[in-house]
Symmetry: C2
């Protein structure tokens, strides 16, 4: 029996990855609503039942994709130089966030529409990999240094949550309601972030 002959473990991992790749391609292609386990199976040349060796169920595949997307978004946000002037840093974080959402609208929808957050109150700590955590830390630093002036009992969470909401709203509108809308969103984005940050002074 042995713990796991690394040869078969590797193979297992590889086809698991192939499944995720096909699944992501399908989501991007047809959107989260049209996502079908059987179609994924077809694309990786497995029978539908075969996938259940690799994932508990359809939901688990989606959850895995969310996890990966979460990390990718975090990576994107981490490419923004954090030693910029703090307001500029926040602004660029926002633009990076929106850039990600615009580049992968269906993926973005998937990430934030299906799986509810594990964190359930402000007392619980934010997960380290969570993109929100990057916004939160940036906002906390700004608050601390006084670059961002908030009213009396403002917590960093309140502000970063509101900032996140603004970004999420823009991202979602463009991924859904305004999918086919033609306008100069780039300047509108910049303006939105500008307005919000101006409100924090």
């Amino acid at each position: 029996m042995s713990a796991k002959p690394s040869t078969s473990a590797r193979r297992h991992l590889r086809t698991k990855q192939a499944i995720l790749d096909a699944a992501l391609a399908l989501v991007i292609e047809k959107g989260p609503d049209q996502f079908s386990l059987r179609e994924v199976a077809r694309r990786v040349d497995y029978s539908p039942a075969g996938l259940y060796e690799y994932f508990r169920d359809k939901e688990a595949i989606i959850a895995a994709l969310c996890q990966i997307g979460f990390k990718r978004l975090a990576v994107t946000l981490n490419t923004v130089a954090s030693d910029l002037p703090q307001r500029e840093y926040l602004a660029k974080l926002g633009l990076a966030y929106l850039g990600f959402a615009q580049k992968n609208p269906e993926y973005y929808r998937l990430i934030f529409n299906f799986i509810p957050s594990k964190r359930q109150s402000l007392q619980e700590p934010v997960e380290d990999a969570d993109p929100y955590n990057i916004l939160l830390k940036a906002m906390a630093k700004g608050l601390e240094s006084g670059v961002i002036k908030a009213s009396a009992q403002d917590q960093a969470e309140t502000l970063s949550y509101n900032f996140w909401a603004l970004l999420h709203g823009i991202a979602m509108l463009r991924s859904t309601v305004l999918k086919d809308f033609d306008a100069d969103f780039a300047t509108a984005d910049r303006r939105a972030i500008e307005i919000f940050l101006k409100g924090l002074s």
Copy 2:
């Protein structure tokens, strides 16, 4: 044959309404994803095929629900006294918007997640029944009277769109990712709107 014996026309309208009622109840109960035409049929004591006399397909039922929700949201926004000081008016519009979304989270999700906007560019006029139109008009009035000071080439659309995005982001986060999150959202909402409006001065 005659144009339509009003007796049967009334009956037709009545069962159509019954279908919509059952459909809405189902959406609220199980969420838009679990929405099932066959379940609606069961609840109104029709066979699945029977519903096709009243709606072209499942999508048409959802579209009808969206339309109704659109109007309800517009009605909610119209209950806000428009003769308030213009900043206060905008703030209360925002709170009313969020109140609607919080009271009907699944309905809200349905409205803004499935049907893309008919309007496809800034040149096309906004539909009169569109809740967005109320935000737009409020913002335009504020801009015009100078109560809201924007930068040079700001259009009312840019600002109202951004305001809408903020509201939509808050509403969506709470309907999905933060569904089970426990916090004082009411004060966070007020703060978000406050910040945004402060940015417009």
